[in-house]
Symmetry: C2
Subunit: 237 residues, 2 copies
């Protein structure tokens, strides 16, 4: 899109997150760059777009909405917030470039194909899966923000499906924080109970049976849009 532009490039990028129950991991949506005239053609990157290229956006948020509706994403998200803005002269071979990075979450596990892919968040943030531009760094920033918010808010629940198990919550929290699953297990269970009291979550009588062990109860999100703030933080590591 509009390679003739002289000035600085301004863009928005979004890291869309979900929890994959089968694989027990957090995943981020990546997009394979399709334009042979653009740098990093054929490589994986965060979905993003240049602002005020072909289309005139009214605001950063409007640009994000346009991105979410575009084929690079194509589904709606349950939560979206701005993470950081990175701008410098070296991150884009075309010249000075600024991007404002958002993170978003999905409730229902949308499956994707072709030029889209769900990839392990931890692998990407630790550069075991290389992305275009400085996008590995951006993903690391997203994971950092996520881990920080996990400590004192219920934001993690936004990336779980509408029905989830206690094990899902514990697994999600431990992989994002890079900690042992047993770490703070009691606290997480307490937090879910708090959220049940606050009518944000309900315990259903449905269960999920794995190959081995006791079946797990399913919990249901009642108010997926509400982010709960806890007045004590989970531990750091």
């Amino acid at each position: 899109m509009s390679e003739e532009r002289r000035g600085a490039i301004q863009s928005v990028d979004v890291g869309i997150l979900r929890f994959n129950r089968e694989l027990g991991r957090a995943e981020i949506l990546l997009h394979k760059r399709q334009n042979p005239d653009e740098p990093y053609f054929g490589q994986w990157a965060l979905p993003g777009l240049v602002i005020n290229g072909d289309t005139q956006d009214q605001s950063l948020e409007a640009a994000i909405d346009r991105l979410l509706l575009s084929p690079k994403v194509g589904f709606s998200v349950s939560h979206c917030e701005q993470v950081v803005t990175v701008g410098n002269a070296v991150r884009d071979p075309r010249g000075w470039a600024t991007t404002t990075v958002y993170m978003a979450m999905v409730d229902d596990s949308v499956e994707v194909e072709g030029d889209k892919q769900w990839v392990d968040l931890v692998a990407v943030s630790e550069k075991k899966f290389l992305l275009a531009f400085d996008h590995n760094e951006l993903v690391a920033r997203i994971r950092g923000r996520l881990a920080g918010k996990f400590r004192y808010t219920s934001i993690g629940f936004s990336m779980l499906p509408m029905k989830f198990t206690m094990t899902d919550v514990i697994t999600l929290f431990s992989v994002v924080r890079g900690a042992n699953p047993a770490k703070g297990k009691t606290s997480i269970v307490q937090r879910v109970k708090k959220m049940i009291e606050a009518q944000l979550i309900a315990l259903t009588d449905e269960t999920v049976q794995l190959a081995m062990g006791r079946p797990q109860y399913l919990y249901l999100k009642l108010k997926p849009e509400v982010i709960f703030e806890f007045d004590r933080a989970l531990s750091d590591d």
Copy 2:
């Protein structure tokens, strides 16, 4: 600067904060717009500059450094962090404009004059002191970020002078949070004690005597650059 530019305007703005012991209030540095060819001439605004106008910046951080060295500020700060980026088609009469907002703090109470002024942070954030552009909103965002960080970090100490009293801390926390000074007083005292244990602060034998009442002990910052993270938050209101 460079009114001929066609594309979007990109800028950085900074809210520099300090605590005024005499007036017992948090203050933000404002700058009076000097260029008659620019919008909002003569009005007060956050210090800011257009990126890649006359000067080529290497990064957003380099632009902030240039701003801090420029006459619009002209002194160094003890802490600086990015708060938010706002971009839309209506905030600047010249057209689409994006600004990345930083907040910064000063240790020592630098006095300013002429086109610079320290103004009550709460008054500005509540629009009792009107600024150019959407800068009142930006200041409100800064205050919100500040109040949030006050809850679970020691960031507030960055805007106190190197030597401060317990009353300073309590006053600062209460005005930023918009709460009664007695609220959480015990907790704040506890936190200072924790920071003394951690060798970040020392109790001196110097005292400050006001017109009435018992004199106050002075505390000294030992490691002003270290931000302490508490594992429990202060209350919300």
